[in-house]
Amino acid sequence: MTSAKATEQIQQRTPGATAKPVVRIIDLHKSFGKLEVLKGVNIEVDRGEVVVVLGPSGSGKSTMLRCINLLEKPTSGQIWFEDTCLTAPKVDVNKVREHIGMVFQQFNLFPHLSAKKNVMLAQTQVLKRSKADAERIAVEQLTRVGLAERVDYKPSQLSGGQQQRVAIARALAMDPHVMLFDEATSALDPELVRDVLDVMKDLARQGTTMIVVTHEMGFARDVADRVIFMEGGVVVEEGTPEAVFDHPQHQRTKEFLGHIS
C-alpha cells in the first residue's frame, strides 16, 4: 500500500530502510470494565504512509490510537513498533514513546511554559539534548508550523489553532518515527481548522508516517494513502481514499459516509 513517492522519500532519509511496517497491530482487544471497545483490530502502517482512521464516535478509533503508545493498556493482542513488541512484558515504555509523536484533541500544552519551552522540555529531559540544540530545534519546528513570531508566547496567549500547531511542533522536535493525531482539529473553531490541516498536509507531503483519527473527510481524501473505517471496535473497511469514498463495499461505510457528506 505504500505510495512510491513516500517510499522514495523515506529511503532518502533513512538509507537502507526496509519495507517493514512501522506499526503493526495484531488482534487488539481493549475493554474498560465490562465494556469491550476494541474487538480484535488488525492494522499495519508502513514507513512514510499516511493512514486516516474514520468512524462514528464510540467506534474505538481513539482508543486504538492511544494503545499504540500505551496510553491505554491493551487487554489482549499485540502491538509492534518497528522491532519492539510493546505488549511484551518489561518493555521500556518511555523509550518507545520517544519515537512516537502524539497530538491530542485538547492540545495538552504545558500552560506554564512558553511555546518554545514547550517544545524544548522533552528534548532536554528525554533526548538529553543541550539547551542550545533544543532551542535551535524548537525555533526550527515552530517556524515550520508557522509560529516563528510566537515562540515566547504562553499557551494562554495563543489561539486554539496556534496551540495545536505548537503541540505538533513539540511532537516533531522529538524526531518521531510515526505521528499519531487524535482528532487534532475537533476542538478548534472552524476558521482555525485550516491552519492545522495545512501543517498536517505539509507533514504528509514531506513523507512523515502518520496515523490520523479525524472527521475531516476532505483531508482524508486529499492526503491519505489509505483510509480505514472502524465501527463497533473492529476495522470494517480499508483501502485507498478513492476506493473507500467512491466505492464503499460495506453497508455501514456507506451509511457513515452518507451521514457525513
Binding site: 503508545n69 496510553l71 518511555n94 523509550k95 518507545v96 514513546r97 520517544e98 519515537h99 512516537i100 509523536g101 502524539m102 491530542f104 485538547q106 495538552n108 500544552l109 504545558f110 500552560p111 506554564h112 522540555l121 522533552a122 529531559q125 528525554v126 508566547y153 504562553k154 499557551p155 494562554s156 496567549q157 489561539s159 503541540a167 513539540r170 511532537a171 522529538m174
Partner: protein, 440 residues
Amino acid sequence: MRLFSKPLFKFFLFALVLATLSALLSPPQADALTVSSTTAQPNSTSSNSSAVIGGTPTRITWEGTVDKGEQVKSLDLVFPAGCSLADGADVKVTVLHGLDRMAYLEQDQLDAQHVSVDFAKAVPSGMLIRVEVHEISLPNVAGDYQLETNYTDANGKSAALGPTQNITVQTVSWSDQLSDWLSQQGWVQAWNSVLFLNIFFNPVQIVASLPQLFFGWLRSLGIVLIGFPIIAIPIGLLVSFLRMSKLKVLRFISSIYVNLIRGTPLFLQIYIFFFGLPYLGINIPNYVLSFLVMGLNSSAYLAEIFRGGIESINKGQFEAAASLGMSRMQTMFRVIIPQTVRRVIPTATSEFILLYKDTSLLAAVGVMEQMMFAKNIVASTGNMTPYIVSALYYLVVTLPLTRFSRNMEKRLADGEGGNEAKEKKHRLRALFTRKQEVAA
C-alpha cells in the same frame, strides 16, 4: 658648699622620722568621714523595675558617717559629668544619730555639677549625714558612675575622699523615655482613668511593650519561616507523593501519618514532643523542637493540599508528558508541580497563616515566642495591654498574607480554569492579546 645649717638638717631628719612613724602607725587615710553608701533610686517605669535609667530624673542618696574624734563642717558632693537637674530639683539633708533625727541647721547649694552643704554648727562624730538630691538625671550613657566627696572639718581643714561606690546606669530606650513622658501627660492620665482603656489600651504600656514584643514577634516568625519551608513543604510534598503511590503499603503508611496529625490537636502534639522526648533521653533545644513540631504538623495539611492540587491537574498533562517519553519523575517535577504550585499558593498561604498563629501554643511549654513575651510583661505589670499589642503584631503578618492569598485565588479564578498563570508584567499583554483574538 653647705646649703643647710646643722640644726635645720636635724629638724628635717626628725620630721622625716616622725612622718614615717605616723605613716606606719596610723591608717593611711586619716579622714574625718566614711561614706557608707551612694545610691540612685530605680526610675524605670517599665518592666525592668530595678534599673537606674540615665537621662531620667531620679533621686541620688549619699550617706556618710562622721568618724571618731572628728567633726564635719561642710560637704561638697561632685556629680559625674553630664548630670542635669529637672524641675523641682532639690536637696534634703538629714543628720541622724542612730535612729534619731538631729536638728542641724545647714545651707545648701545645688547645681548640675555639685551640691554643697554648709552646716551652721559642725556635725560631731558618730552622726550619719544623709544627703538626698531629688529630680536629678544621671547621664544617658550606660555605665558606672561615682560621686566625689569633699569636706571641711571643724578646723576649716579641707579634704577630698576618693570616688564613692558605683551607681550603675542603664541607657533609656526611646520607648522608656516616651512611656515616661506619656505617663506624665494629662490626657494619658485622663485616658487611663477609664478602667477599660487603662487595662487594655494603656498608652504607656503600648509604648513600653512594643519593642520587647518585637523580639517575640521575630522569634515566632522565625519558627514558621524555618519550619514551613524547610520541614513542612518537603515532607508535605513527599507525603503527597506517597499518598498517590501505586504501592498500597506506601499509601497506607502515608494516610496514617496524615490522619494521625490532622486528627489530633496541635497542642497535644506539642506536649507529647516537648515532654515526651526528654523522657527518652532525647534533648533537643526548644527552638529546634519548635520548628520541628510545627513543621511536621503542617506537613500533613500541606500533603493534602498538594495532593488536591496535583489531582486537579488535567489528565491530559500527564498524557502529553508521557507521550513525549518523559518519566514519571520528570513529569512530576517539570510539568505537574510547577502548575500545582500556582494553584496551591492560596491554600498553602492560609495554612502558613494558621501555623503562624499556632506558634502561640508553644508558650504553654515555655518556648520564648511572642505570646510568652506578652505573658511575661503582663505578669509583671498586671496590665492586659501587651496582649493587645501582641495581637497587632500577629495582624501585621496575617492581614497582608490573607489579602495576598485572596488576590491569588481571584487571579486563578479569572484565568481559564486555573490553567493560566501569568507573571505580573505579562498580565496586561495577556489580556490584550486575548481580546484581540476574540475580536479576530
